[in-house]
Amino acid sequence: MNNEIVLETQSLTKIFHGARGDVTALDDVSFSIPEGKTLALVGESGSGKTTAARLVLGLETQNSGTVSVLGKDLSSLNKKELRNLRRSIQVVQQNPYSQLNRRHSVQRIVETPLLAFNEGSAIQRRDKVVDLLESVGLDSAYLNRRPHELSGGQCQRVAIARALAIDPKIVVLDEAVSALDVSVRAQVLNLLRKLQIARNLTYLFITHDLGVAHYLADEIAVMFRGKIVEKGDRTQIFSNPHHHYTKNLISSVPLAEPPEDEIEAISVDTLPIPNSADACSYRTRCAVGLAESDCGTKELKISLSGSHEWLCHFPLKNRI
Protein backbone atom coordinates (compact mmCIF):
# COMPACT_ATOMS: atom_id res chain seq x y z
CA MET A 1 0.00 0.00 0.00
CA ASN A 2 1.37 3.31 -1.04
CA ASN A 3 1.72 5.81 1.75
CA GLU A 4 2.17 8.79 -0.49
CA ILE A 5 0.42 11.94 0.57
CA VAL A 6 -2.29 12.70 -1.98
CA LEU A 7 -3.90 15.71 -0.34
CA GLU A 8 -2.19 18.26 1.81
CA THR A 9 -2.80 21.71 3.18
CA GLN A 10 -0.23 23.94 4.84
CA SER A 11 -1.09 26.87 7.06
CA LEU A 12 -4.30 27.50 5.19
CA THR A 13 -5.95 30.79 6.09
CA LYS A 14 -9.14 32.24 4.67
CA ILE A 15 -10.78 35.47 5.70
CA PHE A 16 -14.22 36.53 4.58
CA HIS A 17 -15.08 40.20 4.41
CA GLY A 18 -18.61 40.72 5.55
CA ALA A 19 -20.90 43.62 6.28
CA ARG A 20 -20.17 43.41 9.97
CA GLY A 21 -16.44 43.00 9.80
CA ASP A 22 -14.02 40.29 8.78
CA VAL A 23 -14.50 36.68 9.72
CA THR A 24 -11.52 34.38 9.86
CA ALA A 25 -13.06 31.18 8.57
CA LEU A 26 -9.78 29.25 8.56
CA ASP A 27 -6.75 30.05 10.63
CA ASP A 28 -3.47 28.32 9.91
CA VAL A 29 -4.99 24.93 9.11
CA SER A 30 -2.64 22.12 8.11
CA PHE A 31 -3.39 18.49 7.44
CA SER A 32 -2.33 15.74 5.09
CA ILE A 33 -3.93 12.52 3.94
CA PRO A 34 -2.00 9.49 2.69
CA GLU A 35 -3.43 7.50 -0.18
CA GLY A 36 -6.26 5.16 0.72
CA LYS A 37 -6.90 6.73 4.10
CA THR A 38 -9.70 8.86 5.53
CA LEU A 39 -9.37 12.12 7.40
CA ALA A 40 -12.47 13.42 9.13
CA LEU A 41 -12.80 17.14 9.74
CA VAL A 42 -15.14 17.33 12.67
CA GLY A 43 -16.67 20.56 13.81
CA GLU A 44 -19.84 22.49 14.39
CA SER A 45 -21.22 25.46 12.51
CA GLY A 46 -18.63 28.18 12.19
CA SER A 47 -15.75 25.77 12.62
CA GLY A 48 -14.49 26.34 9.08
CA LYS A 49 -14.79 22.77 7.91
CA THR A 50 -16.98 23.65 4.93
CA THR A 51 -14.57 26.41 3.92
CA ALA A 52 -11.73 23.91 4.08
CA ALA A 53 -13.65 21.61 1.73
CA ARG A 54 -14.26 24.42 -0.74
CA LEU A 55 -10.61 25.41 -0.73
CA VAL A 56 -9.44 21.86 -1.25
CA LEU A 57 -11.80 21.56 -4.21
CA GLY A 58 -10.47 24.74 -5.72
CA LEU A 59 -13.84 26.47 -5.47
CA GLU A 60 -12.35 29.33 -3.45
CA THR A 61 -8.91 30.78 -3.09
CA GLN A 62 -7.19 31.17 0.21
CA ASN A 63 -5.60 34.27 1.69
CA SER A 64 -2.42 32.43 2.61
CA GLY A 65 -1.12 28.90 2.81
CA THR A 66 -1.16 26.15 0.22
CA VAL A 67 -3.39 23.34 -0.95
CA SER A 68 -1.61 20.49 -2.73
CA VAL A 69 -3.51 17.83 -4.61
CA LEU A 70 -1.31 14.95 -5.78
CA GLY A 71 1.66 17.13 -5.09
CA LYS A 72 0.47 20.05 -7.20
CA ASP A 73 -0.08 23.42 -5.56
CA LEU A 74 -3.53 24.59 -6.64
CA SER A 75 -2.61 28.25 -6.75
CA SER A 76 0.17 27.56 -9.25
CA LEU A 77 -2.23 26.10 -11.77
CA ASN A 78 -3.96 28.00 -14.52
CA LYS A 79 -7.65 27.50 -15.26
CA LYS A 80 -7.10 24.67 -17.68
CA GLU A 81 -4.72 22.80 -15.40
CA LEU A 82 -7.06 23.22 -12.47
CA ARG A 83 -9.93 21.82 -14.46
CA ASN A 84 -7.78 18.91 -15.46
CA LEU A 85 -6.83 18.23 -11.88
CA ARG A 86 -10.49 17.77 -11.10
CA ARG A 87 -10.16 14.32 -12.57
CA SER A 88 -8.40 13.36 -9.39
CA ILE A 89 -10.60 14.97 -6.76
CA GLN A 90 -14.38 14.80 -6.66
CA VAL A 91 -17.13 15.75 -4.22
CA VAL A 92 -20.33 14.37 -2.73
CA GLN A 93 -22.41 17.00 -0.98
CA GLN A 94 -24.94 16.99 1.80
CA ASN A 95 -28.30 17.53 0.16
CA PRO A 96 -29.21 14.46 -1.89
CA TYR A 97 -31.61 16.27 -4.20
CA SER A 98 -30.10 19.65 -4.80
CA GLN A 99 -26.71 18.28 -5.81
CA LEU A 100 -28.32 16.55 -8.80
CA ASN A 101 -29.64 18.51 -11.77
CA ARG A 102 -33.38 17.96 -11.59
CA ARG A 103 -33.71 18.28 -15.33
CA HIS A 104 -31.33 15.45 -16.09
CA SER A 105 -31.80 11.71 -15.99
CA VAL A 106 -29.69 9.58 -13.70
CA GLN A 107 -27.67 8.39 -16.66
CA ARG A 108 -26.91 11.92 -17.73
CA ILE A 109 -26.01 12.95 -14.22
CA VAL A 110 -23.56 10.12 -13.69
CA GLU A 111 -21.89 10.55 -17.07
CA THR A 112 -21.40 14.29 -16.62
CA PRO A 113 -17.72 13.99 -15.58
CA LEU A 114 -17.14 11.75 -18.60
CA LEU A 115 -18.76 14.33 -20.85
CA ALA A 116 -16.76 17.10 -19.25
CA PHE A 117 -13.51 15.41 -20.22
CA ASN A 118 -14.80 13.98 -23.51
CA GLU A 119 -14.15 10.43 -22.46
CA GLY A 120 -15.43 7.54 -24.48
CA SER A 121 -18.18 7.19 -27.01
CA ALA A 122 -21.85 7.32 -26.09
CA ILE A 123 -22.01 3.54 -25.80
CA GLN A 124 -18.88 3.31 -23.71
CA ARG A 125 -20.20 5.99 -21.41
CA ARG A 126 -23.49 4.23 -20.97
CA ASP A 127 -21.75 0.99 -20.12
CA LYS A 128 -19.58 2.74 -17.61
CA VAL A 129 -22.63 4.36 -16.03
CA VAL A 130 -24.33 0.98 -15.69
CA ASP A 131 -21.21 -0.39 -14.00
CA LEU A 132 -21.02 2.55 -11.66
CA LEU A 133 -24.67 2.29 -10.70
CA GLU A 134 -24.17 -1.37 -9.99
CA SER A 135 -21.23 -0.65 -7.74
CA VAL A 136 -23.41 1.67 -5.68
CA GLY A 137 -26.25 -0.80 -5.52
CA LEU A 138 -28.62 0.57 -8.17
CA ASP A 139 -29.70 -1.44 -11.18
CA SER A 140 -30.03 -0.19 -14.74
CA ALA A 141 -33.73 0.50 -14.29
CA TYR A 142 -32.62 3.74 -12.67
CA LEU A 143 -30.94 5.06 -15.80
CA ASN A 144 -33.92 7.03 -17.01
CA ARG A 145 -35.26 8.19 -13.69
CA ARG A 146 -35.11 11.78 -12.51
CA PRO A 147 -33.94 12.89 -9.08
CA HIS A 148 -37.40 13.73 -7.82
CA GLU A 149 -38.46 10.14 -8.43
CA LEU A 150 -35.76 8.81 -6.11
CA SER A 151 -35.45 8.61 -2.37
CA GLY A 152 -32.75 10.50 -0.48
CA GLY A 153 -30.58 7.44 -0.15
CA GLN A 154 -30.86 6.63 -3.84
CA CYS A 155 -29.96 10.19 -4.79
CA GLN A 156 -26.90 10.00 -2.62
CA ARG A 157 -25.86 6.78 -4.32
CA VAL A 158 -26.23 8.49 -7.68
CA ALA A 159 -24.05 11.32 -6.43
CA ILE A 160 -21.43 8.81 -5.32
CA ALA A 161 -21.58 7.04 -8.68
CA ARG A 162 -21.05 10.36 -10.41
CA ALA A 163 -18.10 11.17 -8.19
CA LEU A 164 -16.46 7.88 -9.16
CA ALA A 165 -17.10 8.22 -12.89
CA ILE A 166 -13.66 9.46 -13.86
CA ASP A 167 -11.84 7.27 -11.34
CA PRO A 168 -10.64 9.97 -8.98
CA LYS A 169 -8.09 9.36 -6.30
CA ILE A 170 -9.68 11.60 -3.72
CA VAL A 171 -13.32 12.10 -2.78
CA VAL A 172 -14.40 14.98 -0.58
CA LEU A 173 -17.53 13.99 1.34
CA ASP A 174 -19.16 17.12 2.67
CA GLU A 175 -21.69 15.98 5.30
CA ALA A 176 -22.57 13.32 2.74
CA VAL A 177 -24.72 11.26 5.11
CA SER A 178 -26.11 13.94 7.39
CA ALA A 179 -29.38 14.36 5.54
CA LEU A 180 -30.24 10.68 5.45
CA ASP A 181 -32.47 8.56 7.64
CA VAL A 182 -30.67 6.45 10.21
CA SER A 183 -31.14 3.16 8.39
CA VAL A 184 -30.21 4.63 5.02
CA ARG A 185 -27.17 6.35 6.54
CA ALA A 186 -25.91 2.96 7.64
CA GLN A 187 -26.27 1.59 4.11
CA VAL A 188 -24.39 4.49 2.57
CA LEU A 189 -21.60 4.35 5.16
CA ASN A 190 -21.09 0.68 4.49
CA LEU A 191 -21.07 1.43 0.78
CA LEU A 192 -18.48 4.18 1.20
CA ARG A 193 -16.19 1.92 3.13
CA LYS A 194 -16.57 -0.88 0.60
CA LEU A 195 -15.77 1.46 -2.27
CA GLN A 196 -12.78 2.89 -0.48
CA ILE A 197 -11.24 -0.52 -0.07
CA ALA A 198 -12.10 -1.69 -3.59
CA ARG A 199 -10.77 1.41 -5.33
CA ASN A 200 -8.10 2.57 -2.90
CA LEU A 201 -9.87 5.89 -2.49
CA THR A 202 -8.76 8.68 -0.22
CA TYR A 203 -11.54 10.40 1.68
CA LEU A 204 -11.74 13.85 3.19
CA PHE A 205 -14.88 13.51 5.28
CA ILE A 206 -16.46 16.68 6.60
CA THR A 207 -18.93 16.00 9.36
CA HIS A 208 -20.39 17.21 12.60
CA ASP A 209 -21.27 13.66 13.61
CA LEU A 210 -18.67 12.01 15.81
CA GLY A 211 -20.15 8.57 15.31
CA VAL A 212 -19.67 8.78 11.56
CA ALA A 213 -16.14 10.08 12.03
CA HIS A 214 -15.40 7.22 14.36
CA TYR A 215 -16.65 4.67 11.86
CA LEU A 216 -14.87 5.85 8.76
CA ALA A 217 -11.87 7.90 9.72
CA ASP A 218 -8.28 6.86 10.24
CA GLU A 219 -7.47 10.31 11.47
CA ILE A 220 -9.79 12.89 13.00
CA ALA A 221 -9.18 16.64 13.12
CA VAL A 222 -11.42 18.56 15.49
CA MET A 223 -12.05 22.13 14.38
CA PHE A 224 -13.26 25.10 16.34
CA ARG A 225 -13.65 28.62 14.94
CA GLY A 226 -11.26 28.07 12.09
CA LYS A 227 -8.51 26.23 13.93
CA ILE A 228 -7.69 22.58 14.32
CA VAL A 229 -7.73 22.23 18.07
CA GLU A 230 -6.94 18.55 18.19
CA LYS A 231 -5.87 15.88 15.73
CA GLY A 232 -5.31 12.18 16.18
CA ASP A 233 -6.50 8.69 15.45
CA ARG A 234 -9.64 7.10 16.87
CA THR A 235 -8.16 5.90 20.10
CA GLN A 236 -6.40 9.15 20.79
CA ILE A 237 -9.45 11.29 20.15
CA PHE A 238 -12.14 9.19 21.77
CA SER A 239 -10.33 7.49 24.60
CA ASN A 240 -7.72 10.12 25.36
CA PRO A 241 -8.89 13.56 24.28
CA HIS A 242 -6.67 16.43 25.38
CA HIS A 243 -8.62 19.47 24.25
CA HIS A 244 -11.59 20.58 26.31
CA TYR A 245 -13.71 21.15 23.22
CA THR A 246 -13.11 17.60 22.05
CA LYS A 247 -14.21 16.34 25.43
CA ASN A 248 -17.25 18.60 25.31
CA LEU A 249 -18.17 17.30 21.86
CA ILE A 250 -17.83 13.70 22.90
CA SER A 251 -19.86 14.09 26.05
CA SER A 252 -22.57 16.04 24.22
CA VAL A 253 -23.41 13.11 22.00
CA PRO A 254 -26.66 11.67 23.33
CA LEU A 255 -26.24 7.99 24.11
CA ALA A 256 -28.25 5.26 25.74
CA GLU A 257 -25.57 5.05 28.37
CA PRO A 258 -24.03 8.49 28.80
CA PRO A 259 -20.36 8.44 29.83
CA GLU A 260 -19.69 8.60 33.55
CA ASP A 261 -17.39 11.57 33.64
CA GLU A 262 -19.41 14.20 31.86
CA ILE A 263 -17.79 17.56 32.07
CA GLU A 264 -20.41 20.05 33.08
CA ALA A 265 -20.74 22.10 29.93
CA ILE A 266 -21.02 25.78 30.57
CA SER A 267 -24.25 27.30 29.43
CA VAL A 268 -22.84 30.22 27.54
CA ASP A 269 -25.38 31.44 25.08
CA THR A 270 -24.61 35.09 24.94
CA LEU A 271 -24.81 37.24 21.86
CA PRO A 272 -21.86 36.23 19.70
CA ILE A 273 -18.73 38.29 20.23
CA PRO A 274 -16.90 38.54 16.95
CA ASN A 275 -13.17 37.88 17.07
CA SER A 276 -12.56 38.33 20.75
CA ALA A 277 -9.03 39.24 21.73
CA ASP A 278 -8.34 36.02 23.62
CA ALA A 279 -5.41 33.94 22.47
CA CYS A 280 -7.59 30.84 22.65
CA SER A 281 -10.91 31.26 20.87
CA TYR A 282 -12.45 28.51 22.98
CA ARG A 283 -11.71 30.33 26.23
CA THR A 284 -15.18 31.76 26.80
CA ARG A 285 -16.69 28.27 26.72
CA CYS A 286 -14.05 26.55 28.78
CA ALA A 287 -14.17 26.20 32.56
CA VAL A 288 -10.39 26.03 32.73
CA GLY A 289 -9.89 28.81 30.21
CA LEU A 290 -12.04 31.27 32.10
CA ALA A 291 -10.02 30.64 35.23
CA GLU A 292 -6.58 30.98 33.66
CA SER A 293 -5.28 34.28 32.37
CA ASP A 294 -2.74 32.58 30.10
CA CYS A 295 -5.59 31.41 27.93
CA GLY A 296 -6.35 35.01 27.17
CA THR A 297 -2.86 36.28 26.62
CA LYS A 298 -0.36 33.55 25.85
CA GLU A 299 -0.03 32.53 22.21
CA LEU A 300 -1.00 28.92 21.51
CA LYS A 301 1.51 26.46 20.11
CA ILE A 302 0.85 22.94 18.89
CA SER A 303 1.68 20.23 21.39
CA LEU A 304 2.66 16.83 20.04
CA SER A 305 2.74 13.31 21.26
CA GLY A 306 3.49 10.98 18.38
CA SER A 307 0.69 11.43 15.88
CA HIS A 308 -1.55 13.10 18.44
CA GLU A 309 -1.52 16.89 18.47
CA TRP A 310 -3.51 19.56 20.29
CA LEU A 311 -3.67 23.28 20.79
CA CYS A 312 -4.19 23.97 24.47
CA HIS A 313 -2.31 25.50 27.40
CA PHE A 314 -3.93 23.28 29.98
CA PRO A 315 -4.85 20.07 28.22
CA LEU A 316 -6.68 17.22 29.87
CA LYS A 317 -4.57 14.58 31.49
CA ASN A 318 -3.50 11.42 29.73
CA ARG A 319 -5.90 8.56 30.26
CA ILE A 320 -3.95 5.78 28.62
Binding site: V182, S183, N190, D269
Partner: protein, 329 residues
Protein backbone atom coordinates in the same frame (compact mmCIF):
# COMPACT_ATOMS: atom_id res chain seq x y z
CA UNK B 1 -51.04 8.63 37.34
CA UNK B 2 -53.24 11.15 35.62
CA UNK B 3 -52.61 11.43 31.95
CA UNK B 4 -52.21 14.90 30.58
CA UNK B 5 -52.49 14.10 26.89
CA UNK B 6 -54.15 11.09 25.42
CA UNK B 7 -54.25 10.42 21.69
CA UNK B 8 -56.80 7.90 20.44
CA UNK B 9 -56.83 6.42 16.95
CA UNK B 10 -55.46 9.49 15.27
CA UNK B 11 -55.77 9.16 11.51
CA UNK B 12 -54.44 11.67 9.00
CA UNK B 13 -54.76 11.42 5.25
CA UNK B 14 -52.60 12.89 2.52
CA UNK B 15 -53.38 13.16 -1.19
CA UNK B 16 -51.44 11.09 -3.68
CA UNK B 17 -51.62 10.46 -7.42
CA UNK B 18 -53.69 7.37 -6.66
CA UNK B 19 -56.11 8.90 -4.19
CA UNK B 20 -56.14 9.60 -0.46
CA UNK B 21 -53.63 7.69 1.60
CA UNK B 22 -53.43 7.36 5.36
CA UNK B 23 -50.10 8.84 6.35
CA UNK B 24 -50.99 8.32 10.00
CA UNK B 25 -53.13 5.26 10.52
CA UNK B 26 -54.99 5.03 13.79
CA UNK B 27 -52.28 5.68 16.34
CA UNK B 28 -52.89 5.90 20.06
CA UNK B 29 -50.58 6.87 22.88
CA UNK B 30 -50.67 8.56 26.26
CA UNK B 31 -48.41 11.11 27.83
CA UNK B 32 -48.77 10.98 31.61
CA UNK B 33 -48.25 14.17 33.56
CA UNK B 34 -44.60 14.98 33.99
CA UNK B 35 -43.39 12.22 31.69
CA UNK B 36 -41.35 12.47 28.52
CA UNK B 37 -42.33 10.45 25.49
CA UNK B 38 -40.08 10.09 22.47
CA UNK B 39 -41.84 9.63 19.15
CA UNK B 40 -39.26 8.03 16.91
CA UNK B 41 -39.41 7.25 13.21
CA UNK B 42 -37.84 7.78 9.85
CA UNK B 43 -39.15 9.42 6.67
CA UNK B 44 -42.69 8.43 5.90
CA UNK B 45 -43.36 7.27 9.44
CA UNK B 46 -45.87 10.06 10.00
CA UNK B 47 -44.33 11.41 13.19
CA UNK B 48 -44.21 15.02 12.09
CA UNK B 49 -47.75 14.89 10.75
CA UNK B 50 -48.80 13.59 14.15
CA UNK B 51 -47.28 16.66 15.78
CA UNK B 52 -49.08 18.97 13.39
CA UNK B 53 -52.27 17.00 13.86
CA UNK B 54 -52.06 17.45 17.63
CA UNK B 55 -51.85 21.18 17.16
CA UNK B 56 -54.53 21.16 14.47
CA UNK B 57 -52.14 22.79 12.08
CA UNK B 58 -52.92 20.53 9.17
CA UNK B 59 -53.82 22.29 5.95
CA UNK B 60 -55.92 21.04 3.10
CA UNK B 61 -55.45 18.72 1.33
CA UNK B 62 -53.82 17.02 4.34
CA UNK B 63 -56.68 16.14 6.62
CA UNK B 64 -57.36 14.85 10.11
CA UNK B 65 -59.69 12.02 9.21
CA UNK B 66 -60.61 10.72 12.65
CA UNK B 67 -59.41 10.28 16.18
CA UNK B 68 -59.61 11.98 19.54
CA UNK B 69 -57.13 14.02 21.48
CA UNK B 70 -57.91 14.24 25.17
CA UNK B 71 -56.25 17.06 27.04
CA UNK B 72 -57.06 17.33 30.72
CA UNK B 73 -60.39 15.69 30.39
CA UNK B 74 -61.66 17.19 27.17
CA UNK B 75 -61.41 16.17 23.55
CA UNK B 76 -59.72 19.08 21.84
CA UNK B 77 -60.55 17.88 18.36
CA UNK B 78 -64.13 18.86 19.10
CA UNK B 79 -63.35 22.45 20.03
CA UNK B 80 -64.07 25.18 17.55
CA UNK B 81 -61.29 27.29 16.10
CA UNK B 82 -61.65 30.08 18.63
CA UNK B 83 -61.49 27.85 21.67
CA UNK B 84 -58.67 25.81 20.25
CA UNK B 85 -56.58 28.92 19.75
CA UNK B 86 -56.44 29.23 23.52
CA UNK B 87 -55.12 25.71 23.71
CA UNK B 88 -52.52 26.08 21.00
CA UNK B 89 -49.66 28.01 22.51
CA UNK B 90 -51.49 27.91 25.82
CA UNK B 91 -51.98 24.47 27.26
CA UNK B 92 -49.92 22.93 24.50
CA UNK B 93 -46.66 24.60 23.62
CA UNK B 94 -44.74 23.66 20.52
CA UNK B 95 -41.12 24.04 19.50
CA UNK B 96 -40.20 23.35 15.90
CA UNK B 97 -37.04 22.48 14.08
CA UNK B 98 -36.48 25.87 12.56
CA UNK B 99 -36.63 28.63 15.17
CA UNK B 100 -36.76 31.25 12.45
CA UNK B 101 -40.11 29.95 11.27
CA UNK B 102 -41.59 30.61 14.70
CA UNK B 103 -40.21 34.10 15.03
CA UNK B 104 -40.97 37.31 13.23
CA UNK B 105 -37.68 38.44 11.73
CA UNK B 106 -38.47 42.12 11.93
CA UNK B 107 -39.68 42.24 15.49
CA UNK B 108 -37.48 42.33 18.56
CA UNK B 109 -37.67 39.05 20.38
CA UNK B 110 -38.70 40.64 23.63
CA UNK B 111 -41.73 42.13 21.98
CA UNK B 112 -42.68 38.76 20.53
CA UNK B 113 -42.53 37.05 23.90
CA UNK B 114 -44.58 39.82 25.50
CA UNK B 115 -47.15 39.44 22.75
CA UNK B 116 -47.37 35.72 23.39
CA UNK B 117 -47.70 36.25 27.13
CA UNK B 118 -50.49 38.75 26.71
CA UNK B 119 -52.45 36.46 24.44
CA UNK B 120 -52.49 33.69 26.99
CA UNK B 121 -52.83 35.66 30.21
CA UNK B 122 -54.43 38.77 31.64
CA UNK B 123 -51.19 40.60 32.37
CA UNK B 124 -50.69 44.20 31.39
CA UNK B 125 -47.69 45.32 29.38
CA UNK B 126 -45.42 46.03 32.35
CA UNK B 127 -46.14 42.74 34.03
CA UNK B 128 -45.76 40.89 30.77
CA UNK B 129 -42.40 42.53 30.11
CA UNK B 130 -41.14 41.53 33.52
CA UNK B 131 -42.37 38.02 32.97
CA UNK B 132 -40.68 37.88 29.57
CA UNK B 133 -37.32 38.88 30.98
CA UNK B 134 -37.69 36.25 33.69
CA UNK B 135 -38.50 33.65 31.09
CA UNK B 136 -35.43 34.55 29.05
CA UNK B 137 -33.28 34.11 32.10
CA UNK B 138 -35.03 30.87 32.90
CA UNK B 139 -34.12 29.43 29.52
CA UNK B 140 -30.50 30.17 30.11
CA UNK B 141 -29.96 33.37 28.16
CA UNK B 142 -27.44 35.48 29.94
CA UNK B 143 -28.00 39.23 29.92
CA UNK B 144 -31.70 38.82 29.22
CA UNK B 145 -32.29 42.56 29.17
CA UNK B 146 -29.90 42.94 26.27
CA UNK B 147 -31.38 39.99 24.43
CA UNK B 148 -34.86 41.35 24.98
CA UNK B 149 -34.07 44.16 22.60
CA UNK B 150 -32.33 42.02 20.00
CA UNK B 151 -33.61 40.92 16.65
CA UNK B 152 -33.64 37.27 15.62
CA UNK B 153 -30.89 37.72 13.05
CA UNK B 154 -28.49 38.82 15.74
CA UNK B 155 -28.76 35.56 17.61
CA UNK B 156 -27.33 32.10 17.08
CA UNK B 157 -29.44 29.02 16.42
CA UNK B 158 -29.11 27.80 19.96
CA UNK B 159 -30.18 31.10 21.43
CA UNK B 160 -33.13 31.36 19.07
CA UNK B 161 -34.32 27.94 20.05
CA UNK B 162 -34.15 28.98 23.68
CA UNK B 163 -36.23 32.03 22.83
CA UNK B 164 -38.78 29.81 21.11
CA UNK B 165 -38.88 27.60 24.20
CA UNK B 166 -39.42 30.72 26.28
CA UNK B 167 -42.34 31.64 24.06
CA UNK B 168 -43.75 28.15 24.29
CA UNK B 169 -43.53 28.35 28.07
CA UNK B 170 -45.11 31.79 28.19
CA UNK B 171 -48.55 30.27 27.86
CA UNK B 172 -48.03 28.06 30.90
CA UNK B 173 -48.43 24.83 29.00
CA UNK B 174 -49.15 21.43 30.41
CA UNK B 175 -47.64 19.74 27.39
CA UNK B 176 -44.60 20.69 25.37
CA UNK B 177 -44.19 19.25 21.90
CA UNK B 178 -40.66 19.41 20.56
CA UNK B 179 -40.69 18.47 16.87
CA UNK B 180 -37.07 17.77 15.88
CA UNK B 181 -36.38 20.84 17.96
CA UNK B 182 -32.66 20.21 18.17
CA UNK B 183 -31.96 18.56 14.83
CA UNK B 184 -30.62 21.71 13.25
CA UNK B 185 -28.43 22.59 16.20
CA UNK B 186 -24.82 21.75 16.87
CA UNK B 187 -24.38 18.74 19.06
CA UNK B 188 -23.06 20.76 22.00
CA UNK B 189 -25.93 23.22 21.72
CA UNK B 190 -28.37 20.34 21.29
CA UNK B 191 -27.17 18.81 24.50
CA UNK B 192 -27.67 22.04 26.40
CA UNK B 193 -31.11 22.71 24.95
CA UNK B 194 -32.28 19.18 25.73
CA UNK B 195 -31.00 19.47 29.26
CA UNK B 196 -32.86 22.75 29.51
CA UNK B 197 -36.13 21.19 28.36
CA UNK B 198 -35.54 18.37 30.80
CA UNK B 199 -34.96 20.71 33.69
CA UNK B 200 -37.95 22.87 32.91
CA UNK B 201 -40.18 19.84 32.49
CA UNK B 202 -39.18 18.53 35.88
CA UNK B 203 -39.61 21.87 37.53
CA UNK B 204 -43.04 22.57 36.10
CA UNK B 205 -44.38 19.05 35.90
CA UNK B 206 -44.63 19.37 32.14
CA UNK B 207 -45.29 16.49 29.86
CA UNK B 208 -42.96 16.40 26.90
CA UNK B 209 -43.51 14.84 23.49
CA UNK B 210 -40.07 14.63 21.92
CA UNK B 211 -40.29 13.92 18.22
CA UNK B 212 -36.97 12.82 16.83
CA UNK B 213 -35.21 10.49 14.43
CA UNK B 214 -32.18 10.38 16.74
CA UNK B 215 -32.25 7.30 18.94
CA UNK B 216 -29.55 8.68 21.17
CA UNK B 217 -31.68 11.70 21.97
CA UNK B 218 -34.62 9.43 22.75
CA UNK B 219 -32.45 7.23 24.91
CA UNK B 220 -31.09 10.02 27.00
CA UNK B 221 -34.07 12.30 27.30
CA UNK B 222 -37.21 10.21 27.33
CA UNK B 223 -39.00 7.90 29.71
CA UNK B 224 -41.01 6.05 27.12
CA UNK B 225 -40.59 5.50 23.44
CA UNK B 226 -43.14 5.20 20.64
CA UNK B 227 -41.64 3.78 17.47
CA UNK B 228 -43.53 4.60 14.29
CA UNK B 229 -43.18 2.96 10.91
CA UNK B 230 -45.23 3.79 7.83
CA UNK B 231 -47.91 5.58 9.78
CA UNK B 232 -48.41 3.02 12.51
CA UNK B 233 -46.99 2.38 15.94
CA UNK B 234 -44.86 -0.76 15.90
CA UNK B 235 -43.51 -0.63 19.43
CA UNK B 236 -44.41 1.34 22.53
CA UNK B 237 -42.76 0.94 25.87
CA UNK B 238 -40.33 2.00 28.53
CA UNK B 239 -37.14 3.41 27.10
CA UNK B 240 -34.63 1.30 28.98
CA UNK B 241 -36.49 -1.92 28.26
CA UNK B 242 -36.92 -1.12 24.61
CA UNK B 243 -33.26 -0.29 24.13
CA UNK B 244 -31.92 -3.30 25.94
CA UNK B 245 -34.57 -5.63 24.61
CA UNK B 246 -36.31 -4.44 21.46
CA UNK B 247 -39.35 -6.53 20.64
CA UNK B 248 -40.17 -5.44 17.11
CA UNK B 249 -37.80 -6.40 14.28
CA UNK B 250 -37.83 -2.81 13.05
CA UNK B 251 -36.87 -1.44 16.43
CA UNK B 252 -34.12 -3.97 16.70
CA UNK B 253 -32.86 -3.21 13.19
CA UNK B 254 -33.02 0.52 13.83
CA UNK B 255 -30.95 0.14 16.97
CA UNK B 256 -28.46 -2.03 15.13
CA UNK B 257 -28.04 0.51 12.35
CA UNK B 258 -26.92 3.25 14.70
CA UNK B 259 -23.49 4.64 14.22
CA UNK B 260 -22.05 6.19 17.33
CA UNK B 261 -18.57 6.15 18.71
CA UNK B 262 -19.18 3.28 21.10
CA UNK B 263 -19.71 0.85 18.23
CA UNK B 264 -16.95 -1.32 16.88
CA UNK B 265 -15.76 0.47 13.77
CA UNK B 266 -14.27 -2.63 12.26
CA UNK B 267 -17.65 -4.28 11.84
CA UNK B 268 -19.84 -3.16 8.96
CA UNK B 269 -23.01 -1.56 10.27
CA UNK B 270 -25.97 -3.90 10.24
CA UNK B 271 -28.42 -2.35 7.83
CA UNK B 272 -32.02 -2.83 6.80
CA UNK B 273 -32.50 -3.62 3.13
CA UNK B 274 -34.46 -1.08 1.11
CA UNK B 275 -36.00 2.12 2.39
CA UNK B 276 -39.10 3.19 4.33
CA UNK B 277 -42.19 3.28 2.09
CA UNK B 278 -44.04 6.45 1.19
CA UNK B 279 -47.75 6.56 2.01
CA UNK B 280 -48.73 5.68 -1.56
CA UNK B 281 -46.41 2.67 -1.67
CA UNK B 282 -47.38 1.09 1.59
CA UNK B 283 -47.39 -2.72 1.35
CA UNK B 284 -50.49 -4.62 2.41
CA UNK B 285 -50.34 -6.45 5.67
CA UNK B 286 -47.44 -5.55 7.91
CA UNK B 287 -45.76 -2.52 6.35
CA UNK B 288 -42.31 -3.64 7.49
CA UNK B 289 -42.63 -7.20 6.14
CA UNK B 290 -40.78 -6.65 2.83
CA UNK B 291 -37.70 -5.50 4.73
CA UNK B 292 -37.97 -7.82 7.70
CA UNK B 293 -35.50 -10.65 8.12
CA UNK B 294 -38.06 -12.62 10.10
CA UNK B 295 -40.85 -12.27 7.61
CA UNK B 296 -43.23 -15.11 6.95
CA UNK B 297 -45.85 -15.21 4.23
CA UNK B 298 -48.58 -14.71 6.78
CA UNK B 299 -47.12 -11.31 7.62
CA UNK B 300 -48.30 -9.81 4.36
CA UNK B 301 -51.88 -10.91 4.76
CA UNK B 302 -53.12 -8.74 7.59
CA UNK B 303 -51.97 -5.77 9.62
CA UNK B 304 -50.64 -6.74 13.06
CA UNK B 305 -52.25 -4.98 16.02
CA UNK B 306 -50.49 -3.65 19.08
CA UNK B 307 -50.38 -6.33 21.76
CA UNK B 308 -48.93 -6.32 25.20
CA UNK B 309 -45.72 -8.27 25.68
CA UNK B 310 -43.40 -8.05 28.66
CA UNK B 311 -44.78 -4.68 29.71
CA UNK B 312 -44.44 -3.10 26.28
CA UNK B 313 -46.77 -2.96 23.34
CA UNK B 314 -45.64 -4.34 20.02
CA UNK B 315 -47.33 -4.84 16.64
CA UNK B 316 -45.74 -7.96 15.22
CA UNK B 317 -47.17 -11.40 14.62
CA UNK B 318 -43.93 -13.06 15.59
CA UNK B 319 -42.96 -10.82 18.47
CA UNK B 320 -43.57 -13.36 21.21
CA UNK B 321 -41.89 -16.12 19.29
CA UNK B 322 -38.82 -14.02 18.51
CA UNK B 323 -38.61 -12.79 22.07
CA UNK B 324 -38.53 -16.39 23.36
CA UNK B 325 -35.76 -17.23 20.90
CA UNK B 326 -33.63 -14.28 21.91
CA UNK B 327 -34.17 -15.09 25.57
CA UNK B 328 -33.09 -18.66 25.01
CA UNK B 329 -29.74 -17.48 23.64
Amino acid sequence: MTSTLEVRYLTISVPSPSGKKLAVDGISFTIPAGKRIALVGESGSGKSLTAYGLMRLLREPVKLESGEIWLNGRDITKLDQKEFRKVRGGEIGMVYQDPMSALNPIMRIGTQIVESIQIHSAMNKTEARKSAVELLEKVGIHSPEESFNSFPFEMSGGMLQRVVIAMALSGNPKVLIADEATTALDVTTQSRVLHLINGLAKERGLSVLLITHDLGVAAQFADEIVVMYAGRIVEYGDIRNTFSNPLHPYTRALLDSRCDYTMDHLQPIKTIVGQPPRPENRPSGCAFAPRCEFMKNSCEVSVPMLEVLEGSRVACFRAEELHKISRAR
